[in-house]
Amino acid sequence: MLNIALPKGRLGDKVYRLFSACGYDCSAMETDDRRLVLADEGGKVQYLLVKPSDVAIYVEHGAADVGVVGKDVLVEGGNDVYELLDLGFGACRMCVAAPVGFREDLAAPLRVATKYPGIAKRYYAGKSREIEIIKLNGSIELAPILGLSDVIVDIVETGSTLVQNHLEVIETILPISARLIVNKAALRFKAEEIRPLLAALQKPAAEGEKV
């Protein structure tokens, strides 16, 4: 049986629909169930519903064989897993955003508010820019408005939240989308189960990129 870790929420629903269309359906997923582990009757798959930022951890430790996770979580966590497919959807960008008309003071360390301290640290280290990281867990856009930080590093999908808060993207760090990840040992010991899944997902993934 293949253990698949899905992020709870909108992305997870979308991923489940894709997997289900590829023949990995599970009736328990379709009812409004509050269980976190759902197996199909045929014993082919078992879905684990976990917090999006934990998907890669489940896969790295082998509690799940396969998982779907945003590239942002993967880069931030630096997990030791195989990244086998870009599923194409959930597309957005990791960006630096600042108040409209922001001018950087190069004489002082840049204050960066973010949920992604690892990505921010690496990005600015690459530019040899000294920064001060302010780790937040939500409503990042608030930080520059209140003067808590100069800029923010966050994911931007449509940019409407930024506009509403008088912020604008000043740099793009990397493009983000949903990725299929696989545990390293599972790829050896469950190859016969994983390979058909990969083949089935490959087609929709290529189409998803165009949408």
């Binding site: 030791d80 897993v81 990244e83 870009d86 390293k184 040992a185 599972a186 050896r188 010991f189």
Partner: protein
């Protein structure tokens, strides 16, 4: 339960020690610490870059050893025409993979240094396979050859930075970003299509080798394939090839490794449990003329595999009364233990204690109660 796991680990290590010694490998033992400079200069060789350091009374910065191979290479003879075979079982200190905390880890490994020929390579490979087998259960040994991917990238004329970027993506089997990187680095189409295939070039040995043959464009690559081919036929001849897989996406650090590299997996462990390869470059960095090959077995990764989940705290709970003839009680308890049972003797049932069978001393012997 903890103790049972420890006992199985002891059993495994003593079995492996016997195996390594029977083939002439001698024990290499070392102090807990080395000068920090040794690790600083070779940071990327270490599994994790964090090293536990302290200052010794002379003001020298010392480190609790995070690795044993570097010390073995440092002490190796420097002539070309000699051969040393060593094994070690040492504690190393590194960051736990999950928590930002230092842990003491048991590591075992084997190294051959000096004049390495194809017999020695095959001997090390066989020891790696036997070591995985000794763990028990299903296992897989992935093999690759650094010369294959490297030869391709050299033929394409890539810079060290470009190679490093592509290597990282190939290691993740990240074919989609590899394809993007190849476009961004403006690699000539003839090489680009071949490099793009490296991420997915893995699987059963003969089939994967046949696929790889179509990609070979230089002598270095041909040489790599012929080494793999002869190794495979040798291991097939001794009946050990079933667990072998080829995986050209497996690439160790360029600065240290060349030639054959390999990684072992066992069922039940989510990460690599054995890792090794040919590291002539590391020898040369230390000014040694010889070559070297070896591997390490990560005993910490095996903890879960070796753990024995028992439903019972003991096979037999033997209950006696303080007034009983204690010499007879003791004789009966030791008698059951001699039959191979785990016996827990007590005058009252300990709280939460679970035994497969409970017996009570009556008169002369223990009688079972239900």
């Amino acid at each position: 339960m903890e103790q049972r796991t420890e006992a199985r680990r002891e059993q495994l290590t003593s079995r492996l020690r016997g195996l390594y010694e029977s083939l002439g490998y001698t024990r290499f033992s070392m102090r807990r610490f080395e000068e920090y400079a040794l690790y600083l200069e070779n940071k990327s060789f270490l599994k994790s870059e964090s090293v536990l350091t302290f200052t010794n009374p002379d003001g020298k910065l010392m480190a609790l050893k995070p690795d044993v191979t570097l010390s073995i290479v440092k002490h190796a003879r420097s002539e070309r025409d000699t051969l040393e075979k060593v094994y070690y079982k040492e504690s190393v200190y590194r960051l736990a993979p999950t928590a930002r905390e230092f842990v003491e880890i048991d590591q075992m490994g084997v190294e051959a240094l000096g004049a390495i020929d194809s017999y020695t390579v095959a001997e090390i490979m066989r020891l790696a396979i036997e070591s995985l087998r000794a763990v028990g259960g299903e296992y897989v040994l992935d093999i690759s050859h650094m010369g294959f991917a490297l030869g391709l990238m050299e033929a394409a004329g890539l810079s060290p930075e470009q190679k490093e970027r592509l290597f990282t993506l190939i290691r993740q089997k990240n074919a989609h970003e590899l394809a993007e990187a190849i476009v961004q680095e403006r690699i000539a189409p003839f090489y680009a299509e071949r490099i793009a295939k490296l991420a997915g070039l893995s699987g059963a040995f003969p089939e994967t080798l046949a696929r790889a043959e179509k990609l070979a464009v230089s002598d270095e690559m041909e040489q790599a394939l012929s080494e793999l081919r002869s190794l495979y036929s040798l291991l097939t001849a001794v009946g050990l090839a079933d667990c072998l897989q080829l995986d050209f996406s497996m690439l160790n650090d360029l600065n240290y490794y060349n030639g054959i590299v390999f990684q072992g997996y066992v069922q039940g462990a989510p990460r690599v449990v054995l890792s090794g390869g040919r590291y002539d470059h590391l020898m040369h960095r230390f000014g040694k003329q010889g070559e070297a090959i070896g591997f390490a077995l990560y005993l910490d990764e095996l903890t879960r595999v070796l753990a024995e989940h028992r439903a019972w705290d003991a096979d037999v709970l033997a209950l006696y009364q303080p007034g009983d003839a204690l010499s007879k009680v003791q004789a009966a308890v030791f008698g059951m233990a001699a039959q191979g049972l785990r016996v827990f003797a007590a005058s009252a049932h300990p709280k939460d204690f679970r035994a497969a069978k409970t017996v009570v001393f009556r008169g002369d012997t223990f009688e079972e109660v239900r």
